[in-house]
């Protein structure tokens, strides 16, 4: 089965991300990494492609910096990678992003399963996931914690999904878009063979023209970025004769502050 997954390069989680004096978000010269949630979707795409005897393709939408994430994906074992570049795409415009994503999936022709990570840590949202499913007109299953079976003959997929109240086991008809949780698998490290392949890979670039779409008008406008106000933290050391006394005082404090 042809499986498609998406990824993007995001600042290293250890990097210090801030808004500089010109109002631009920067993370110094810290490296970018694969969006951490995508490690799980990439792994799942590799596993399911193998299980179904199919192929897994990874797509990134955005400028060249996202090639890093694509190369990491190939090094992990994805069969092929594509980058979609639209010069006038604002990466915070999820509808524009989803329009390109859905068109890219359709261009693959025979894709039946799209796997997303839970969200993107750079824009801290997952709305592009649902918008992509909507644009494709496919069923959307979010927070999948396990793929239990894929029946390629009858074209169904059975998954376990996390709900607030517990778990749900559900079988739906393909094609579907799913988003997967951390813990669905243990993402593999790139292998030396994969790294060798990735470092030689030439990643094709598709434009909106190649996809036969144009970006919809923006529905939102980004006005400005601001750094978070510095948090005023007050430290107090609780004193007392015994551990019991200190604990009692601590509990009183917590009750006073309505923490408990």
């Amino acid at each position: 089965m042809q499986i498609v997954t998406f990824t993007r390069s995001t600042p290293d989680t250890a990097a210090k991300v801030e808004v500089n004096s010109s109002g631009v978000v920067t993370w110094g010269d810290a490296a970018t990494v694969v969006n951490p949630w995508d490690e799980y979707s990439l792994e799942e795409a590799i596993v399911q492609a193998k299980n179904t005897g199919g192929k897994a393709t990874v797509i990134a939408i955005g400028p060249e910096m996202h090639n890093e994430a694509l190369k990491h994906s190939i090094a992990m074992g994805l069969d092929e990678a594509v980058r979609v570049q639209a010069d006038d795409l604002d990466m915070t415009d999820s509808l524009g992003w989803a329009t390109l994503a859905a068109a890219a999936v359709q261009k693959m022709g025979n894709a039946e399963l799209v796997i997303f990570g839970k969200e993107s840590i750079d824009v801290a949202t997952d709305q592009q996931v649902y918008q992509t499913a909507r644009k494709l007109g496919w069923t959307m299953l979010s927070y999948v914690s396990k793929i239990l079976a894929i029946d390629t003959a009858n074209k169904t997929i059975k998954v376990e999904k996390v709900l607030e109240q517990g778990k749900q086991i559900i079988t739906v008809k393909l094609p579907v878009v799913i988003s997967v949780m951390k813990g669905i698998n243990e993402p593999r490290y790139p292998s030396f063979i994969g790294i060798r392949k990735a470092s030689k890979a030439v990643i094709p670039v598709w434009t909106p023209g190649d996809l036969g779409v144009s970006l919809p008008g923006k529905t939102s406008e980004l006005v400005a970025y601001h750094n978070l106000p510095a948090r005023a933290v007050q430290t107090e050391i609780i004193t007392g004769e015994s551990v019991q006394e200190k604990a009692a005082k601590l509990v009183d404090k917590l009750l006073e502050e309505k923490v408990l």
């Binding site: 090094a75 490290y189 790139p190 292998s191 030396f192 790294i195 470092s199 030689k200």
Partner: protein
């Protein structure tokens, strides 16, 4: 001149670093305390090519150049000296001679095992009464009896013996008093007559096992001879030349780990109302460490590069190993100094790093021997010119 690592190497380095930080670093303190290598991590190493860095892919290796192999060892050393030493010895001393001089049969028999993640390779040169001076001092002797070699003697300070499917053992096969007296024979540690003594109690590198091993009328088939009879000393010197690049890389890695710890600590620890990193005497140590580390790393990379170019690398390998091991000593020393009493405590990793690095000026040729090698080469060059 190009000081940039290739894209492939950068990716490899980043992957190894992630792996080491996630799979080895969290266990480094426990490894030191219990004397047990982080085997869960080692079993995952074949996927990354770490157990066959310069072994052909046919035998499960990664077939990398010396620069890539050095970077891998450096990254492991940065988080755990014990794992670094065992992996360095495995690749350079255990696999290396079989890759270079093994027959097809020897390669097919041993290399897939060595790259599997279940074993670590080993080379036995040193003896209780001889380390630097193997030529005059090594006594372990083997004679041919029918189609078997019979080995008698004792080897000491041998890394990885307890995990080796086979050990490359340096033996005398003649008694002419020349460098052609030696051969290398492959011996499985479970052969009758082999005794592996209890692990040595060491100052550092405690999880990397070091054993004495005795051979009493140990019989192995004649096909266990590695390369040609009489070429053992030559093979040893060749193996040590390349092993030295790896020990240099390991030294740089340990120094890098200590360097990062000391800079971070200097920025956090306050004295006299400000981070100690603001004090000029602390900055002097940080600056010196940065300079020395950079110099050591460049020498190791250059030695690896010279070897990869197929040129004679005896001198540059000795230079790199000497410099890097002495830099590790200095950097780890200052890392403890900057940590004050915490540096002297087992609760901070610099204490372990200091003990671990101490071997680097001893193993695979002491600093004295490196200086002898370097001086001999330099004098020879001047003699020729």
């Amino acid at each position: 001149m190009d000081f940039e690592l290739s894209n492939e190497l950068k990716m490899f380095q980043k992957t190894i670093r992630d792996f080491c930080e996630n799979e080895i670093q969290p266990h480094a303190t426990a490894a030191d305390e219990t004397g047990v290598l982080p085997w869960d991590a080692i079993r995952k190493m074949p996927h990354l090519g770490l157990l066959g860095l310069q072994v052909s892919e046919v035998y499960g290796g990664a077939d990398m150049d010396t620069l890539a192999a050095s970077i891998a060892v450096e990254e492991i050393g940065r988080v755990c000296g014990s794992t670094g030493l065992s992996i360095s010895a495995h690749n350079g001393l255990g696999c290396g001679p079989i890759v270079r001089w093994g027959s097809d049969e020897q390669k097919t028999t041993w290399l897939p095992k060595l790259t599997s993640g279940k074993f670590l390779g080993s080379l036995a040169l040193t003896e209780p009464q001889a380390g630097s001076d193997l030529l005059n001092g090594a006594q372990t002797y083997a004679y041919q009896d029918g189609d078997e070699w019979v080995i008698n003697g004792t080897k000491a300070w041998i890394t990885n013996v307890s995990f080796a499917p086979v050990i490359n053992v340096l033996v005398r096969t003649r008694k002419d008093g020349s460098s052609h007296d030696f051969s290398i024979i492959l011996v499985e540690p479970d052969r009758a007559g082999v005794s592996v003594h209890p692990p040595e109690k060491k100052m550092g590198l405690k999880a990397s096992p070091t054993h004495m091993i005795s051979f009493e009328n140990v019989r192995v088939p004649s096909q266990h001879l590695l390369g040609e009879e009489g070429s053992g000393f030559y093979m040893t010197m060749q193996t040590l030349d390349s092993g030295r690049i790896s020990i240099g890389a390991l030294s740089v890695g340990i120094a890098q780990g200590a360097f990062e710890a000391m800079v971070r600590y200097a920025q956090e620890r306050k004295a006299f109302n400000e981070p100690i990193a603001n004090k000029q005497l602390i900055q002097e140590k940080i600056a010196n460490a940065a300079v020395e580390l950079e110099a050591a790393r460049m020498l190791v990379y250059k030695a690896a590069w010279v070897k990869d170019q197929g040129r004679d690398y005896t001198k540059i390998a000795a230079i790199a190993k000497l410099k890097a091991s002495e830099v590790a000593e200095k950097v780890c020393h200052d890392a403890i100094q900057i940590h004050g009493s915490y540096g002297y405590s087992r609760d901070y990793p610099v204490e372990r790093m200091y003990r671990d690095q101490r071997l680097m000026t001893i193993g695979e040729g002491t600093s004295e021997i490196q200086r002898i090698v370097i001086a001999r080469q330099v004098l020879r060059e001047f003699h020729h010119s």
